[in-house]
């Protein structure tokens, strides 16, 4: 069965119990939102269900729905009063996610998560045992996470002490928080930075201190959440190019950062171009590759890295 088919069947079997649990009726728009479908789709689903029921179709054998204006309620469930049990994948998705939340005490109330986990495991039955097939461990920075979450929920501005690795600097700034991101095991705060006048990502393990301010969070209109489909960092096409030759051992750079003009080299390495507006970042990247990346362009970058290295060598030899 295709995924859309399975989704619709799950929805059809859940709709009647959903209405049964809400005897006063539900606004069509609310029900559509709860099931993650359009109102038109929900109407189609209800029309289909209206024709369903027990064989024979005697009184009490058919699903009966009543529509009053924008509200719908069920007057006869034809015996389908409870939703289907959680399927294996559903139980795994829920249980592993709750276990993950337990490791992130800043994000949800730990006590509540534990209690929910016990209840869900009991209701899931056997499939709960399969949840061991997925295990998640995340670097938790409980303190920063808890404060950032507080700021987001209260819609207030935050004051950050933030470490910028590319410049090896501690910075201080006031930001208007927009949302939290969890990408590849790291938490990020996406926020409008008032100092830089732009949307920035702040990795929470680089936040040395954070406080919720009294003033409201007010990201300006031009503050757009970025689309993460292409990864966290999408370089601006206007930014200058740095051309590198990566040795075999440094080929991971091409997977990790957005690169262009990728060409394999005869020795198994790769020629790539990286766009960046930050020369300090490029210098640190090349230097931290310890010679496994050679700068082709710009020449000044190669010279700076080499001069730094020579000065350092002099200290070891001295």
């Amino acid at each position: 069965m295709s995924a859309p088919t399975a989704d619709r069947m799950t929805r059809l079997l859940a709709l009647v119990p959903y209405l049964e649990a809400r005897p006063a009726g539900v606004l069509m728009a609310d029900a559509a939102r709860d099931f993650g479908v359009t109102e038109a789709q929900l109407r189609k689903d209800l029309e289909l269900l209206w024709l369903c029921g027990l064989p024979g179709h005697g009184p009490g054998d058919l699903i009966d729905l009543s529509f009053e204006g924008d509200r719908v309620r069920v007057t006869d469930t034809a015996g389908l009063a409870r939703p289907l049990r959680l399927a294996t994948d559903e139980a795994v998705a829920l249980i592993v996610a709750l276990r993950t939340l337990l490791e992130l005490p800043g994000l949800a109330e730990t006590e509540a998560v534990s209690r929910a986990l016990v209840k869900v495991s009991a209701a899931a039955g056997e499939p709960a045992d399969l949840a061991g097939a997925v295990s998640v461990s995340i670097d938790a920075r409980a303190q920063a996470l808890a404060v950032v979450r507080q700021g987001l929920e209260a819609r207030r501005a935050l004051h950050l002490h933030y470490y910028v690795p590319s410049r090896d600097q501690r910075t201080e700034r006031t930001v208007d928080p927009m949302r939290l991101l969890l990408v590849d095991g790291h938490w990020y705060l996406e926020a409008w930075c008032r100092r830089a006048e732009g949307v920035r990502l702040f990795r929470l393990d680089r936040v040395d201190d954070v406080a919720v301010l009294d003033e409201a969070s007010a990201p300006p209109e031009q503050a757009q959440e970025r689309d993460l489909a292409d990864g966290l960092y999408v370089p601006d096409a206007e930014q200058p190019l740095v051309r590198l030759q990566l040795a075999r051992s440094a080929r991971w750079v091409a997977d990790y950062y957005p690169v262009e003009d990728v060409e394999p080299l005869p020795d198994g390495g790769l020629a790539v171009a990286v766009r960046t507006a930050d020369p300090a970042w490029a210098r640190r990247l090349v230097a931290s590759l310890g010679g496994a990346a050679v700068v082709v362009e710009p020449r000044e970058l190669a010279d700076e890295v080499a001069a730094d290295a020579r000065a350092a060598l002099a200290r070891y030899q001295g």
Binding site: R22, A108, E109, A112, S135, A287
Partner: protein, 325 residues
């Protein structure tokens, strides 16, 4: 899905849920709307049989506990029913805080497999009368399981305990090597996904990084083909194989420099010339050597000698990069 097929499947669930008796296929054919009626022709019988087989498979795939059996010794063939106690989600109630935790948890997934499953769980909990708030609340975009194309195949193989075959390419190798693995599970550890399992060719437990799996892994053979060791802690297996022993590194840093190193270092007594001395702990000494070399003349490694040597080697290579060409 055609509305007809959906309607037939829903009616089939109603018919089998509403009976304690096993219902024969023939009876289902005549009472559940939507099946090809018998007209005496073999063609119609065949069409019904095919359709009914497919419907049974669909219901089982959805997790509907379809039972097969005979009500009495006089029945000539197996019939079907759905036990209500097996079908229905048991009573479950959450406090507001617990429901909020569940809503947040279900937003952690993004892959087709677990993201879709989370949506299914959400629908069922809402149908059980629980107001799980999945959309509003904290603005949060988690991507716990995104960006690993092999995730779904590895997860399903571990869940069903089936053989997994894939090509594994280490970054320093050009061609991948074919691996045959009995998968125990997938683990997110320090921001990376790993597959843990028994490698059939190496005859030993192995850990694989999902990002080094090339192409789509192949899931084959029967389900429940093996049993993972009892009480295996997958995260511990990964930590043991990936993490190494800790190395203590002592460096000198010029005052006001190496801000990032200081954030995780222990400050020691300063050197006689006034430079700061920092103690760093690492399980990846060569990675730390990369980072230390990148600080140039601001940082000097005191000990251990092998890290000092590693930094000098890196600096020597970097120094060769500049100048006339």
């Amino acid at each position: 899905m055609s509305a007809k097929r959906a309607e037939r499947l829903v009616n089939l669930v109603f018919a089998l849920l509403g009976t304690r008796q096993y219902v024969s296929a023939e009876r289902i054919r005549t009472t559940v709307p939507g099946y090809e009626p018998a007209d005496g022709s073999e063609r119609a019988d065949e069409a019904f049989k095919r359709m009914f087989e497919r419907d049974k498979a669909d219901l089982r795939e959805l997790g509907v506990p379809l039972e097969t059996g005979r009500t009495s010794a006089f029945d000539v063939e197996d019939g079907y029913r759905i036990a209500r106690s097996e079908y229905e989600l048991p009573e479950i109630a959450f406090t507001g805080e617990e429901a909020a935790a569940v809503g947040l948890a279900l937003r952690l997934w993004q892959s087709a497999q677990l993201g879709g499953a989370a949506q299914g769980a959400l629908v069922k909990l809402r149908a059980a009368g629980i107001d799980v708030d999945g959309e509003r609340g904290l603005p949060l975009q988690p991507r716990l399981d995104a960006g690993e194309p092999s995730f779904d195949a590895c997860y399903s193989a571990a869940r069903d305990r089936r053989l997994l075959t894939f090509t594994y390419t280490r970054p320093d190798e050009d061609a991948g090597v074919k691996r045959r693995v009995q998968p125990w599970g997938v683990v997110a550890w320090h921001g990376r996904w790993y597959l843990v399992g028994h490698d059939l060719d190496r005859a030993a437990p192995r850990v694989f990084r999902l990002s080094r799996v090339t192409g789509t892994p192949r899931v084959s053979g029967p389900p429940d083909a093996f049993t993972p060791p009892a009480d295996v802690d997958l995260a511990a297996v990964v930590a043991q194989q990936v993490g190494r022993k800790e190395t203590v590194v002592v460096v000198r840093a010029r005052p006001g420099t190496a801000v990032g190193l200081r954030r995780r270092a222990i400050a020691l007594d300063p050197a006689p010339d006034g430079e700061d001395r920092l103690e760093l702990h690492t399980t990846e000494p060569w990675g730390l050597a990369d980072e230390l070399a990148a600080h140039g003349p601001d940082v000097l490694v005191e000990s251990p000698p092998e890290v000092r040597q590693a930094v000098v080697e890196r600096l020597t290579r970097l120094a060769a990069m500049g100048g006339p060409r």
